[in-house]
């Protein structure tokens, strides 16, 4: 499924003394099956933007197209858009509320009028997709779980709606390194298995460098650049100016290069850096 954002501006509390422009002139195309990262300083408009993609917010001006169809045109049911564009909010575990995990994950599917059998099937599938055993957890209270597991249950609740686009707003904030890596690995696996289009909002430059195909950078309500992580992370100074940064490993290689060392600075992961340095050390050994 594709998304087209055309000239979208959103103004909060228009025509009041509190009026503020949250996002401005956004143009953005996400093609079917792509994996995007959305980065930007706190308050840059990331959360506002993604809430437009499933119709939770309506643009003050501009249009949102899902698979070529304007979602605010006549005859489009926002309910079906919200089912197809799944949005996982920040700290989604705060939204768990049912007595058992099964009931919590079943909440969405129940509201779209599926049969009991279909609902049970979806709950089971969704829990297993996020790495939880249905049999083991279904009757537990979501509140007995660890932070990372609660977050998985919340993601399962969105997956149970069988979305074609999955948008996650900082899914790893506050998680320990293992919890972070596990959730990210599950997102990658999900994307491949379900052929999802994925948008990941993140403050971790390391994570987006490792995972996404393309990055959009927001700054004070606008998308100021788009490109592959390799392209985007070459502009270290520019990103710092915008409240962002680059992965530590990329910073290392840029500094080595600026010291006149014969290495590429076009490096996104520890493995890439390792290969590049071994090459350089060997060259030196032969010289």
């Amino acid at each position: 499924m594709s998304i087209d954002v055309k000239n979208v501006t959103h103004v909060y509390m228009p025509n009041t003394p509190f009026e503020s422009i949250a996002i401005k002139d956004i143009n953005w195309t996400v093609k079917d099956g792509e994996f995007w990262g959305l980065i930007g300083h706190t308050g840059s408009g990331k959360s506002t933007l993604i809430q437009h993609l499933n119709g939770l917010l309506k643009p003050t001006s501009g249009e949102i197209f899902i698979n070529g169809k304007n979602i605010h045109s006549k005859g489009v049911k926002l309910k079906s858009i919200r089912q197809r564009v799944g949005l996982v909010f920040q700290y989604p575990e705060h939204q768990l509320f049912e007595e058992t995990i099964e009931q919590d994950v079943a909440f969405g599917p129940k509201n779209i009028g599926l049969t009991e059998e279909e609902i049970a099937g979806r709950v089971k599938e969704a829990l297993e997709l996020v790495g939880l055993s249905y049999e083991k957890v279904k009757d537990k209270s979501p509140f007995e779980l660890s932070g990372g597991q609660m977050r998985r249950v919340a993601i399962a609740g969105v997956l149970a709606m069988k979305p074609e686009i999955l948008i996650l707003d900082e899914p790893t904030a506050g998680l320990d390194p293992r919890g972070r890596d596990e959730i990210l690995e599950e997102i990658v696996a999900l994307k491949q298995k379900q052929k999802l289009t994925v948008i990941l909002v993140s403050h971790s430059m390391e994570d987006v460098a490792k995972l996404v195909d393309k990055l959009a950078v927001m700054y004070h309500g606008r998308i100021v650049s788009q490109g592959t992580p390799r392209e985007i992370f070459q502009d270290y100074a520019g990103l710092v100016e915008k409240g962002l940064g680059i992965p530590q490993i990329t910073e290392l290689m840029i500094k080595m290069k600026s010291k006149g060392k014969n290495v590429s600075s076009d490096i996104l992961t520890v493995d890439e850096a390792r290969a590049e340095i071994i090459k350089a050390v060997r060259r030196k050994g032969l010289a």
Binding site: H41, R180, H203, G243, P247, K255, A273, R274, I277
Partner: protein, 278 residues
């Protein structure tokens, strides 16, 4: 005799009322005045529980916490303790109470019954320390995440604590906000001589500390200088933790027989090390 350590934990156990398990077991610990201690560990390992014991938000089920000579069990001393050990939490929006920055910073000292003149002075000093002097009259909601968190820190500073405990203060911030907060924390420790306890999931932040404590399942399982702790890459990964990317790189290169130091913690150290090799 005054106890030498700023914060001492003596055989501390803690159990939440609703739980049958111990959240903390056998914690024995001394944090020296002026020391910078980082606590890392998986979610649910007891880090935040321990932090809340340090300023008497929780009282040990068994054992004692002594802050600057005061036992947190003694109810009469609780305000003396909280004034000495201030806490900063994860979400800046939950910690800001006023509509103007300087009023927010004044909230703590006002509650201590400090004279207005002295409060004004403290607020000014605190905002200067966190480098937000120009923001005194601004509305907090207009600030960036990193600035809001620094306002929260200023609010604690205005109480003139000897010790500041920060529980994942950067978890919700963007990269620059994270740097701002850590730079501020380092400054409080080095320039103002405050004792700092920093709980974090960001390993690059923990490397700034004098000492790192690693917690697992309610216990302290590793303890040492950052280079001692982070050079144990495999052990940390087994615990569900991580190391900074440059430390990981040093570990990988060493496996490939490239002669690098194994205890590299920062980009600067790695640049120096690699420059000698190529």
């Amino acid at each position: 005799m005054k106890i030498a350590a700023e914060i001492t934990a003596l055989d501390v156990h803690y159990q939440y009322a609703a739980s049958s398990d111990l959240a903390l077991k056998n914690i024995n610990l001394k944090i020296k005045p002026g020391e910078f201690v980082a606590i890392i560990g998986p979610n649910g390992s007891g880090k935040s529980t321990l932090a809340k014991l340090f300023n008497g938000l929780f009282i040990p089920t068994k054992g004692d916490i002594i802050v600057d000579g005061f036992n947190t069990k003694n109810k009469d001393d609780i305000w003396k303790i909280r004034q000495r050990a201030g806490m900063v939490f994860q979400n800046p929006d939950n910690q800001i109470v006023a509509t103007i920055v300087q009023e927010d910073v004044a909230f703590g000292p006002e509650n201590l019954g400090i004279p207005p003149e002295e409060i004004r002075h403290r607020v000014k000093e605190a905002l200067k320390t966190v480098e937000l002097a120009d923001y005194a009259d601004k509305a907090p909601h207009l600030l960036s995440g990193g600035q809001k968190q620094r306002v929260a820190i200023a609010g604690i500073l205005a109480m003139k604590p000897d010790c500041i405990i920060l529980d994942e203060p950067t978890a919700m911030l963007d990269p620059v906000g994270r740097k701002e907060v850590i730079t501020t924390v380092k400054k409080l420790n080095k320039k103002e001589g405050k004792t700092v306890v920093l709980i974090t999931h960001f390993m690059e932040e923990a490397v700034c500390a004098d000492r790192v404590l690693v917690m697992e399942k309610g216990k302290i399982v590793m303890e040492g200088r950052p280079n001692e702790i982070f050079s144990q890459v495999e052990k940390l990964k087994k615990l569900g933790l991580d190391v900074p990317q440059v430390t990981e790189l040093a570990y990988q290169l060493a496996k490939d027989n490239v002669p690098v130091q194994r205890d590299i913690l920062t980009v600067g150290e790695m640049v120096d090390c690699l420059c000698q090799l190529m």
